[in-house]
Symmetry: C2
Subunit: 198 residues, 2 copies
């Protein structure tokens, strides 16, 4: 190994730092300069990996989502009880995770980026939309299982419930940011889930 | 009247245009220059009215809220039926209002500004927080009336329901922006309200 050689900048590491910055400060307020400084990456290396800040953001959305979905599946497998009980326990664990997070980072990437779509390009907007639709599909599948096991009310279609769960979680995250407290997330888990229980 | 004299710039008019700009583009992306240009107001006049962009934003939040609350009360008085039916009709009317609005303006000022609080000053953050708490208190009062008339379930406290209504509406607004459709707002009115009905 030659002395003074820079360590390899992992593509994944840059995506992770980017996700953190975008979650904390939003897309528009995060400059390429800041991303480079935070990652310790020279401009050239960055542009070897990503064609533009916009392409970078789209990849972050996809990368972040695959991590989150994997985490969700792993947690489901680890929990005991009915499917509905498992979901409730995961939501409780997520709330705790946020409550231990550094102040100001509370909020998910999609919630933060969604607020900026009116100024976003079609490609960026489409990536957020695909990502949200994918999550809602997964929630719908979970709710379908709950309805089949008899733990969630069946007078409303699984898809409509899934959309409401997502919207309510996003709204709770938004209010959590303003309150600087996970209380709205707790309310989502304790009260909202009671509304859909059978 | 002397010729060439500029018309009086009404304070209220500047607040209204500011609310539109902040709703459309957010706080940070809206510059003082843009506000001045849009209002046709010279810099000096603007600073006669408002000490800073931040003070301006705080006044907008308060101004916007008093208009919205007044509109809500007027609509309640105009509707017929039980209190719960009235609320449902207003939510339906609000959804229609958004569906007729210019694309990109879909979303309320508070939802948009809430997404930016992590970068906001304490004064700005407090104004958003006060405003949200005020709305939730009003919703709680409405839900209390619905519980008393027997139209809303009573196994959950009015306050918790009010918070969930607010969070869900905010989350629906956020997804409406991404989808460029009022479908999430319709789902809020049709499906979510069914969850709390008795």
């Amino acid at each position: 190994m030659s002395r003074g050689r820079r360590p390899e900048h992992s593509r994944e590491k840059i995506l992770e730092i980017g996700a953190e910055l975008f979650t904390r400060n939003g897309y528009h307020a995060t400059g390429i300069k800041e991303i480079l400084a935070e990652c310790g990456v020279p401009k050239g290396s960055f542009y070897n990996f990503f064609a533009s800040k916009e392409h970078f953001a789209v990849e972050i959305i996809q990368h972040y989502q695959s991590i989150e979905l994997e985490r969700w599946t792993e947690q489901l497998e680890r929990q005991q009880g009915s499917h509905f009980e498992k979901i409730n326990m995961i939501l409780q664990a997520e709330t705790e995770r946020y409550s231990n997070a550094e102040s100001g980072t509370c909020g998910c990437l999609l919630a933060n980026l969604s607020g900026e779509v009116s100024q976003a390009s079609p490609m960026f907007k489409q990536a957020i939309l695909d990502s949200i639709n994918r999550v809602i599909q997964d929630i719908e599948r979970d709710i379908q299982i709950c309805q089949d096991e008899g733990s969630v009310r069946t007078d409303i279609e699984a898809k409509a419930i899934a959309e409401i769960i997502w919207d309510n979680w996003q709204g709770s995250l938004l209010r959590s940011k303003v309150l600087d407290s996970v209380e709205p997330l707790r309310n989502h888990q304790l009260t909202f889930m009671k509304l859909i229980a059978r």
